[in-house]
Symmetry: D2
Subunit: 400 residues, 4 copies
């Protein structure tokens, strides 16, 4: 098999060297991320259901979830949700196979409930949030087989493309890590920090501004002083974290929209702005690599919730990111790498219409020096395209 | 105050003496009863919320709940719900008072969840059943005050009537007790019995036929023999119970529609037929006294879920039943008593347009002998009309 | 075939001769009636769809419809609906037959839209009212055949009963005709009268009180004088109508809850109280004969929306009413007649467990004189039980 | 006022000169575009409602709409929709102002209905599609004034950015025009072409491949030959159109996934794939300039449906596009221009944190030559920032 793999010079500076850089990450408690996470977790549960019951993944797609915000009345020491958040899980799924009824609706609802319990622990299921599901009957004509025994390479179901890049710039790294660390390490000791952490990074030359919006949970905040301490703690933590990743000047702002005089602060009952007026849906937030990067090409495809067996948009976005990471890890001399995979409908997905790696090399390195190595890695990764499917089903890959 | 209370002879035989009698009771797990119970429990929760927060009951009404049946795949030893039951709690409620937001939606949802957990324990919330709520903004103009300190007698909000009767006939007693005892005493030792027990009693002369439809829970039933034993146990229990209440001939049938050859039996995952195709709504099942009695006048008013402070249909149905029971308890010589209360819109509810007691006296008793006593009791009960409201809010009265 | 038909004396006075009589009718624009009418019209459309497509009526049931009230801001000369009424059509239906997809959802929605356009003409579809549908997959196991060629007598699907009576009393006639005439003859010249006309009749001895609540449509009412004229017109019309049916004293009240001083009048945008806070559902209003009659036994079964082929509750309620009317029409000397039909699950529906006619004869007439004639008519009507199904599908029978 | 406007060299080739270029446009009938168009049209209707009723635009946001696909059974000569498409319009809106109720729900529904009638004419409202609305109560604290008399410059409500570019490359132009012309000029004579036209352009060097997926409407297609003609007509039209915009080699494919042998063709009842399995939501399709352009930076912000008075993501995306177009129109020597606007929360929106124009100049042109002119235009456009709001409300700007 001869794959159409092209390697060329990326005709711009590395993003790290550009004058202005903007990067954003919506934390797992952001309304859009809630939808992404929930859709992906429903997707995984359905894949697993199909594997358990019929030995292979059947047709489904759950990449649409609509969150309608609720209303809340937060208060120091603990307020309450007044109107619940409403979440509608939307999609298609095969509900019957070989005469057997498959509990796709119940499975989707269970996955949603379990995901919410883990991701937004302060949200009381069935009171603070109502989850409903509308899964249409899938077309059932999914011919591609991803089963326990055989893992065929499917045909592309669409003309679509995926794009990935590596390595992350300092600003990208800081933005990504800020959210990840706040919601894990930091949260472990600071229950007052809600999961709705939004991080915006802007770099102008050698100055990085990190703006964090962090929803505080009222039950753990006694008064305004307490709140102010909570904000300060977050800022200091992020400053420390940023210094580990850059020597540039870093400035961190947390909850800049607060106005203590007016009593306008970012206090919530459940730790997410979805409780009060912020709607959300799948695919409107972070891209497959966890970031929103206006300095780089992005795919509009929602990655979360899609069927990982044959949805080419999902597979190529995850795979191009994976390829970019593998290449920069294994090949020296790459300052900035961008990988694009373009499918052609009806062609096996391990043979993209074009696989295109564009590189900004480090000083003194020539594309010709590394081209063969890059092609080889890309070729191997394409040959193992079903590995993406496997990793998605196993939950080893993050999609947002 | 001079109340319009009329006592007269009921111009028919006592129902006990009629040739044919039909009585029905839908158990608490029947789809219509689920709606009744849920609506009433939401109503109680809202009354309590208002009393707790603003010291008086505000305008609300939750006497509409729609249950859309699910789909299930029961199996000996334990099957599964395939499509969840969907329940929509409908009504109006005051959401803001004196500038304070009142969590009526969350309160309604919590009440619903807690009620379901108690009434249909095998139903997994959020997976086997999805509950949503649509409470419109109440008009907020409820002038009647039922608060901690003052309990005014409100004006009738409608032209409506209530009807009650007493004492229960033997058949009525057996039908009522059959469901109550099966779902309490019997269930304590027989987890295989689901709460969806429907009892139909028919008496022709001195022969009483009791037909029971009892949903069995598959997790506790290993095979067809086991199922057959479960059915037999129910029949024997009901036969024993019936013999305690009558000397007439009694015949008991349980799950008569079963066809063992065809494998058609009444096996369920959750103990309610709502899991498979049986929809339900408020006010379509038992009347306020817990029975459906085609031999007697009935009110079409749904009692469950209505505001107990001023909803005249609810109050008069409960009160007329209460009056009938009080009168027959305290006054000797009554073989059959029927009480009707008719309101007139805009008049205080303790002054019905007409309160009308019709009596079949025992042999040798004349209406004139007991008329004064009857009037006195009715008068006293009307004077204490707000007692109904109090008992409803405290949960001391069953509405279905 | 030997049907179990029993004729006996009704052991009470004719309702016409009782001291107190209460009768109610909810007009077609009442929220409960809207649900009844819509459910029945959806049912008819599905029957027709099945007949057209597969030549016989398949399994379905649409006897649940939930109406959630909207909010409106009526104003002299024309106000507006602020929040739409929401109607959820609920039920089960067979969606696929012999490999062919049947458009049950679209058919149901079209029937609903057309019904609303006719019944509540001022209601703008899709703006003032949103209709959604949840029709579960029917069990598909309906063996009974009601097709173009063959019309088998089905087996009873439940233990249930129907009850009918005739002739109507004067009060019943007046109440029924008041609503019917107001919504047809009168409306033709008075577009200001909305279809939500509720009529309550009370007779004490020889005095009949008719209380009418009539929703006026604001677009046709310019000011309070205009409104007052509209109310007066209705009262005069009803007074005239009543006088055609009785020699008793008649008193008519229209919109008695109005308070002109306070500006509290019954003005609506669309002619139904569903626009402002009044929810509704199927089976909570009029019985199969179009009335609510607390002086008479009633069935709790919702008649509207049920499958007319084999739903015994529907068939027996309509049939018992039909039988009562036929008998009193053809047999002289009947002052009051009550017919009850009781099914037994699994038995052909033309052989009820018991068909029971109870009669109050006119002076000088003995039951024995007419018994044979009554039995014969009942027998013939039972033999033609599928005629009910046919008339329902053709829309020749009203169910509420 | 001194705006932070920066002009610099764009450190890459013009997209026109890059080796590989990918461009996509989802037509107005694509499920995602339906949501975009509907959300924007609801937004415009609400702006207009507020202006009409209270003289200024109040707080609202309707940038979330979820479309749940239906099911259809297309057939040559005319098939039918079997399960309706379900559309949920989501957002917040101020429902009361100064004691007056504002009909936001009804207004939203009317706008949705009118938009669908225009955009997808074959879709029968209320039968083929059900539209519901969930608009939460807005916070009501929108201080910014955009009224009839005064048009203040509001403060940014978020830290966000917009990005625009100009001029369009040949491929971009062809992709954009293909959809626009097919859905207007071509459609006028070809009713068989549905509005769900998806166009993908790929350029490798000097060869442009245009792949069109065009939903055909079955009522206008009699058989496979007819269908084949319809496809051929589209291809020839697009080939002609493309030749008007480029001298490069152009290849056009239409409905490449068709398999005539298998009878698998792109035939629909309503002209949109939403009728059969394709869900959609706002903000997942075309960016503000009508294209998806992986070769260029894009904003993830949904532009459609957002409040145009103060939603910075919407305003800055539209304004940056508008600025890019103005600059390239008025200034000579620009081969590729990219404009980014970054807001800072709390700052007036006519003073972005940074306005950044990056330019690829034509041969022989130096940035210094044109910098002043560019700055001047940007400055003027920023000064007229409320012009964007005005154009959006007037419907003069497309957002997708």
């Amino acid at each position: 098999m001869d794959r159409n793999i092209q390697v060329s010079r990326l005709d711009r500076q590395a993003v790290e060297d550009q004058e202005v850089e903007i990067v954003e990450r919506k934390g797992i408690g952001h309304p859009d991320s809630i939808c992404d996470g929930l859709a992906e977790s429903v997707s995984r549960a359905l894949s697993q259901l199909y594997l358990d019951r019929v030995g292979k993944v059947l047709h489904y797609n759950t990449d649409e979830t609509q969150l309608v915000a609720g209303r809340a009345a937060p208060a120091f020491g603990g307020g309450e949700v007044v109107e619940p958040i409403y979440i509608l899980v939307v999609g298609r799924a095969t509900k019957e196979y070989d005469g057997e009824q498959l509990p796709v609706d119940s499975t989707a609802l269970r996955a949603a409930r379990e995901y919410l319990a883990e991701a937004i622990p302060e949200l009381e299921y069935g009171t603070d949030v109502v989850v409903d599901v509308k899964l249409g009957e899938g077309s059932g004509d999914l011919q591609d087989v991803f089963g326990e025994e055989t893992q065929q390479v499917p045909m592309a179901n669409d003309t679509s493309f995926g794009v990935g890049h590596a390595p992350l710039t300092e600003t990208e790294t800081i933005v990504h890590e800020t959210e990840r660390e706040l919601n894990t390490t930091y949260y472990a000791d600071h229950p007052e920090l809600g999961p709705d952490v939004k991080v915006m990074g802007k770099r102008e030359g050698d100055r990085i501004d990190i703006t964090v919006a962090a929803a505080m949970v009222d039950a753990y905040i006694d008064d305004l002083d307490d709140y102010d301490d909570a904000v300060t703690d977050v800022r200091e933590f992020v400053e420390g974290l940023a210094r580990d990743h850059t020597d540039r000047e870093v400035n961190v702002d947390v909850n800049t929209a607060d106005d203590y005089e007016q009593g306008s602060i970012y206090l919530t009952v459940t730790g997410t702005s979805a409780e009060q007026g912020d709607d959300g849906s799948v695919g409107r937030g972070n891209r497959a690599n966890g970031l929103i990067t206006p300095n780089r090409p992005m795919s509009m495809e929602a990655t979360s919730g899609k069927n990982p067996v044959n949805h080419i948009g999902k597979i190529y976005n995850l795979l191009s990111t994976h390829i970019a990471e593998s290449v920069t890890e294994e090949v020296d001399g790459i300052r900035d790498l961008q990988v694009r995979l373009l499918s052609q409908i009806g062609r096996p997905i391990d043979e993209p219409h074009v696989a295109d790696a564009q590189i900004v090399t480090a000083d003194g390195v020539d594309i010709a020096d590394i081209e063969d190595q890059v092609v080889e890695i890309i070729d191997a990764e394409l040959a193992d395209v079903t590995g993406v499917t496997r990793r998605v089903i196993d939950g080893d890959v993050s999609t947002f």
